[in-house]
Symmetry: C2
Subunit: 315 residues, 2 copies
């Protein structure tokens, strides 16, 4: 049995476009870290096992160190499919459904995603691991978690189990509008540099949070404002960002039960600032959970559930 400060496992967040790995001890302390662009496409070409072993060797991981993986590596287009687990499911049930890579040297598991069956079908893959970490730190947690991103997730937890969730296409739609739509002529290259203190972001939020706002019916005004008023490219990007994030925030607030005042916001850096401002404007209080930290805590919670007794790891 490893001690604190000695490698107990490695955890990897393996997504479509990036790969991150942490060497951790049994208490979840990070001993070494790797970040690379070895996403799914690169890994399919080079071999998933080779990519992983290369990173493990680089951090000096022992040959028999167990590895837990989350993210799109567990999708049908990934390394090995870890089939979605239907909600509600508690952490033990999620981990019991992890996929095991056949490997003679080490125990490698992929955490499955979660599925919401029925009239509002939905899936998540990757976020469930961050939620494992959240529940590990707050056993039996009930409440609302906002996880902004390309496909933002809004997750209701009850007694430590995911009870329902929704996905907003916010990040992807923003990128499509900035780069592929008629609005690209008005936005330029500044789309990813917008921060929460830009007055255009506040203006976009104010529009989106007003009664009867229609995103579909307002987007074109970004172009018209450039043609008629000479609106600058960064003002256009900021306004658009405020409009799309504000639309997400307003809808999430409208759909949340009134007794829910506080949201756990899983985000970092600029994204955290944008969403904290938007959620605040929509009427939520935010408790921020750093997104990277949430992934690491989730991978540690998964390792603890898979390989260590719970008693030993939650000190």
């Amino acid at each position: 049995m490893s001690k604190d400060g000695e490698p107990a496992f490695a955890g990897a967040d393996w997504g479509t476009s990036r790969f991150r790995l942490w060497l951790m001890d049994r208490a979840g302390n990070v001993l070494a870290e790797r970040r690379s662009d070895d996403g799914l496409d690169a890994s399919r070409t080079n071999g998933f096992s080779q990519v992983l072993e290369g990173h493990l060797a680089a951090v000096g991981a022992p040959a028999d160190l167990p590895v837990v993986v989350c993210g799109m590596a567990g999708s049908r287009q990934g390394w090995m499919e870890a089939s979605y687990v239907d909600i509600p499911a508690d952490p033990a049930a999620i981990l019991a459904a992890s996929a095991r890579i056949i490997d003679t040297r080490r125990d490698i598991r992929i955490v499955p995603g979660l599925a919401q069956q029925g009239a509002r079908p939905n899936v998540m893959r990757g976020e469930e691991t961050q939620l494992l970490g959240l529940v590990h730190g707050k056993p039996g947690f009930s409440g609302l978690v906002a996880m902004p991103g390309t496909h933002s997730k809004w997750v209701y937890l009850e007694g430590g189990k995911v009870s329902r969730f929704a996905t907003y296409l916010t990040g992807e739609l923003y990128a499509l509008l900035c780069n592929q739509s008629i609005l690209r002529h008005s936005i330029g290259q500044d789309a990813d540099g917008i921060d929460a203190d830009h007055p255009g972001f506040s203006a976009g939020l104010a529009l989106a949070l007003a009664p009867d706002f229609s995103l579909l019916g307002t987007l074109f005004e970004i172009r018209a404002a450039m043609l008629l008023d000479g609106q600058s490219e960064d003002a256009a990007a900021a306004r658009l960002s405020g409009m799309v994030i504000g639309t997400e925030a307003a809808d999430a607030r409208a759909k949340a039960p009134a007794e829910i005042k506080t949201v756990q916001l899983v985000a970092s850096g600029r994204m955290e600032r944008l969403y904290r401002k938007a959620l605040g404007a929509a009427g939520f209080d935010c408790e921020t959970i750093d997104a990277d930290d949430a992934v690491r805590k989730g991978l540690h919670a998964a390792a603890a559930g898979l390989w260590f007794s719970r008693k030993e790891t939650t000190a």
Copy 2:
């Protein structure tokens, strides 16, 4: 002065990707027609004058026949900019602002677009000509006009003048989602084949017309329905089409004054059927105006206003 049945002018609808020209007599009867892919890009390369003269020669137009042009040929990136006219503007004011191409042989005019200044900036270019035709046929018309397309216009007219309008990015967003977004994996190649009788279209409409519907928060379910329920590609496309057109229809209905029951729907073919169904489901009655016919009537109204006395042409 030309008689009925003799060429009196040519009218061209010159857009970003296509060119259409009609040879017409003074009463607006079509004597000959041309359709081609000579949109702005092709015409910039080959020369706007050369492209136009080629089509005029093909229909045997006399060397001194006047020509009226509408569409993006009048934009800054087109042949010659015909600056936007601020609303409200009556037909005479719009035509007075047309741009005149310097040409020794013929009188060539480009109809200007319309601009809505202020807090809800908006522009149209091309649709104003269809509206000229509508008002020519219904002098002093007051009411609501829906003009579906890549950028759908909803136009309020009062006493024959455009009083305000909105743009919905419906067609462009649908194409982006089908071809560029994560949803493309669920939709395949059938996106443009959806018709109004597809049950998926009705299902999408029903979703969009329900209270508290959020397009941004529902789009991803198209993907989840494929992953979890094996939703077919054409069902996904139909559902998406119903969701985006339904979002436009629901918002337009919510914003229209209650006393407005009827919409003039300027559309043709499949698009007309999709929108008639959506607008009906949202609570509007529709009077269809064929979109091609509206352009021709608009170009004729413009020619009548520019060159013929009104008395001679409205029989």
